[in-house]
Amino acid sequence: MSLPIMGVPDKKRKKLTVYTIEECINCKKPTKREFKDGDLVHKILDKCKDCDNNIMISLIYGEEIKKN
C-alpha cells in the first residue's frame, strides 16, 4: 500500500455480506451468490450450461445489505 496517511474511525461500523460472482468465460453471464468457504477469485468451477465453456469466479466482494 502506498501513501501511509491515517484516517479517523467511522462512528458506525458497516456490516458487510460477502458475495461471490461467477461468470462463464465465454458468454460472460454473471451470477451472484453468497460466499462459500473455498471460493477464490479466478477459480474455475464447473461447465456452463449454455455453451460448455468453463465458469470462473470473477469477483468476491463484501456489500452492505440495504434495508428497505
Partner: protein, 372 residues
C-alpha cells in the same frame, strides 16, 4: 432572597451575602486553580481506562480466535497454545541507522530471516497443513501479534501517565487513541477475512494483474512471486505479482530488479491500493508517477534504484481505500475498479510506448484469495 448581579464592577458578586459569594464564586475558583489539572487527569484517566479495557477485550478475543483457528482438528492443544503465546511476544529489532549507507540491505536481511523463521516454525508445529492453511495460520498469528503489540504500547503509556500523574502523557495518549482504535478495529476485521481466505482491499493490485495473467504460462521469479508474458497492443507485457491464493505480498522488489536486468523494458507500471484521504471515495482510481508500493521500504528502494539506473519511467495507478478496507474483505466499489484500471493500462501503453516495446506491469499488494 434577591439575586443581584453586579458585572464589571471590579468584583464578581452573585448575591449581596459575602459568605455565599465566597462559597459560590471564590472557593470553586481557588479549587480549580489549585486542583484543575488533577481533575483533568482524573477525567482523562477515566476515559482512557475504558478504552484500554476495550482494547484488552479485543486483543483477548483475537487471541482466542487465533487459538480456535490454529488448533482446529489438532490433539496437542496445550502445547500449541503455549507456542502461540510465545509467538505473540515475537519482536523484530530494526537495524541501526546512524550510518545509513547500506541500511536497506540490513533491513532486507532481517525481514527475510524473520519470514523464514516464522514459516519454518509453523511448519514444525503443524507439519500436516497444506500450503493455503499454513499460510492462513501464519497471517492470523501475525495479526494477533500486531494486536498484542498495539495493546501493550497503549497500556504502557497509560500506566506511565497514571503512575506519574502526568497530564501531558495522558493527554497525548488521549489524542492518538482514536487512530490506534482504528488500527485495532482494522486488525479485528482482518482476522475474520484472513481466516476465510477472502480477498482483502489490498488484493486489488494482484487481482487486476492476475486477470491479465490468466491463461498465460507463469514462472517463479522471487520468493512467492511470479511473472507471465503477454501481448498488449503489440507490446510485450511482463506481468508481475505475488503468487496467490495464499496471503502474501511476495518480493516485487527482487522480481522487478531481475526483470529490468533481463528484459530492459521501456516502461514500468505499478498498480497498488492506496489509503484515501477523508472525503475521497473508496474505489476511486488515480494515476501518477513513482513507485506505488508500501511496506517498510525495501521493495520500494530496489524498484526505484533499478528504474533510475536504467532510466525507466515508473507510472503508478492506485485504487483508493481506507486502512480498514485495505485489510478486511474487499468492498464492491474496490472490486469494480478492475475494468477501469485495465482501460488505463491499455491507454498508457498505447500512448507512452511503441509497438514491440517491453513493459513491466506490477500488481502490488497481498494476493490473498486471488488465483493468477
Amino acid at each position: 432572597m434577591d439575586l443581584v448581579f453586579i458585572i464589571g464592577a471590579g468584583n464578581a458578586q452573585i448575591t449581596s451575602n459575602p459568605i455565599i459569594n465566597l462559597a459560590i464564586v471564590y472557593l470553586p475558583l481557588a479549587l480549580l486553580i489549585l486542583y484543575g489539572q488533577r481533575l483533568q487527569v482524573w477525567l482523562i484517566t477515566n476515559d482512557l481506562s475504558k478504552t484500554v479495557g476495550r482494547l484488552k477485550e479485543m486483543k483477548d478475543r483475537s487471541r482466542q480466535e487465533t487459538i480456535d483457528h490454529i488448533t482446529e482438528g489438532i490433539d496437542n492443544k496445550e502445547e500449541t497454545i503455549k507456542r502461540l503465546d510465545s509467538f505473540l511476544e515475537y519482536f523484530t529489532i530494526m537495524p541501526v541507522d546512524l550510518d545509513p549507507a547500506g541500511v536497506i540491505n540490513k533491513l532486507d536481511h532481517i525481514m527475510t530471516s524473520r519470514d523464514i523463521r516464522m514459516k519454518s516454525e509453523i511448519k514444525q508445529l503443524f507439519p500436516d497443513l497444506d500450503k493455503l492453511k499454513a499460510n492462513s495460520v501464519e497471517n492470523v498469528i501475525e495479526i494477533a501479534t500486531s494486536f498484542n503489540f498495539v495493546y501493550k504500547i497503549v497500556r504502557h503509556f497509560y500506566l506511565v501517565g497514571k503512575k506519574t500523574n502526568n497530564f501531558i502523557i495522558l493527554a497525548q495518549l488521549q489524542m492518538i487513541i482514536p487512530f490506534l482504535m482504528l488500527q485495532a478495529d482494522a486488525l479485528s476485521q482482518a482476522m475474520t477475512t484472513f481466516k476465510k481466505n477472502q480477498p482483502v482491499g489490498d488484493a486489488i493490485g494482484p487481482m487486476i494483474v492476475g486477470k491479465l495473467m490468466l491463461e498465460h504460462e507463469k514462472h517463479d521469479i522471487a520468493v512467492d512471486t511470479i511473472y507471465a508474458e503477454s501481448d498488449i497492443s503489440g507490446r510485450k507485457a511482463i506481468l508481475v505479482t505475488a503468487k496467490g491464493p495464499v496471503g502474501t505480498v511476495g518480493q516485487p522488489g527482487n522480481a522487478v530488479q531481475e526483470l529490468i536486468q533481463k528484459e530492459n523494458p521501456s516502461l514500468l507500471i505499478m498498480i497498488d491500493a492506496a489509503l484515501r484521504l477523508e472525503g475521497e471515495k473508496t474505489g476511486e482510481v488515480a494515476e501518477g508517477v513513482g513507485a506505488a508500493i508500501g511496506g517498510i521500504g525495501v521493495d520500494k528502494f530496489k524498484i526505484e534504484e533499478a528504474a533510475t539506473n536504467n532510466n525507466i519511467p515508473v507510472y503508478a495507478i492506485i485504487v483508493k481505500q481506507t486502512i480498514v478496507e485495505a485489510i478486511s474483505v474487499m468492498t464492491k466499489e474496490i472490486a469494480e475498479s478492475v475494468d477501469s484500471v485495465h482501460d488505463i493500462i491499455h491507454r498508457i501503453i498505447d500512448e507512452r510506448t511503441k509497438p514491440n516495446d517491453k513493459v513491466i506491469i506490477v500488481g502490488v499488494g497481498n494476493t490473498i484469495g486471488v488465483i493468477q
